[in-house]
Symmetry: C2
Subunit: 155 residues, 2 copies
Amino acid sequence: MQDKPWYEDVVIPALLRHARTTYGKAMRSALEEAGYDDIPANGLYVIGGLALSDRDVPLRQLVHELGITKQGAGQLVDALVSRGYLARTPDKTDRRQLIVTLTDRGRAAAEVQKKARERIDRELLERIGEDDVRSMRRGLGTLIDMRREEAESRE
Amino acid sequence: MQDKPWYEDVVIPALLRHARTTYGKAMRSALEEAGYDDIPANGLYVIGGLALSDRDVPLRQLVHELGITKQGAGQLVDALVSRGYLARTPDKTDRRQLIVTLTDRGRAAAEVQKKARERIDRELLERIGEDDVRSMRRGLGTLIDMRREEAESRE
DNA sequence: CGTTGATAGTCAACTCACTTGACTTATTTT
DNA sequence: AAAATAAGTCAAGTGAGTTGACTATCAACG
């Protein structure tokens, strides 16, 4: 009677928490080794997201994506600007908006971060295979959809 | 040509982050409705974990599970004790240790939290089916295993 | 046994990352 | 043109962790 894997008995939110930490730790230590050791926690999402989307975004979008207040997002951007990862440039067409852009340093850091992330992705793929990765994505995506719907139904 | 689901293009750590928020929001709002509105963030893990394991644990174990310092864990327990969710009792056999126990209030809150969690689990199961849930667990468990191994190899 | 070292936890001060509240400037609506 | 809305800032406060220094208890070994 083979015993079932340990994670069958662990509650899903705890699994999510610790799984995320695997990525976090890997990205952070890769960045530190490359000399980018002053990126605040959510900065990873800002830099990574900016590099990925390849378009420069206004602050309000970060607010939405991170689920924090605009003041919080502003301070986060402040920190990343003063450390040389981001730049702010005013939007021509709507002068209220400030567009957030990656600097060269920001792009370099994003690249290091991306490599680290992809290394984890690759190892996961090797271990559990394409189908299970797809299933995992599906599960996670579904959970996220559920919250969107709950939020809508509460309006 | 059917378009692929949105989450195929989203980076896994971001999926993990937002998926966890679904559970977090659901548990927190259920607890608030039931009058337990003063539980600090990580308190959910302490109370839930304590209720689940059904054994009373020393502080050092919380330290390990939460991945925080013992001082941090101490403060968290302080907060939960002063709000009536936990009690500390000295261990007879090792008088250095303080055992952390759920109070009645703590157990009641854990029950509410558990119901909320299981509601999400159930809806997820309905939507994606047993196999995909299993695959998701496997993926998450594997990610967590990977970090354990990396940590060991760095010693 | 008694000293030496490790383990469990505490106290105090600090930091970081956010929050709330009040405001300014620009844009849209009527 | 006035009112309402939206993007962002400034300032002060808070929550949740950190580091550093300490006490109390236990284990191990000559």
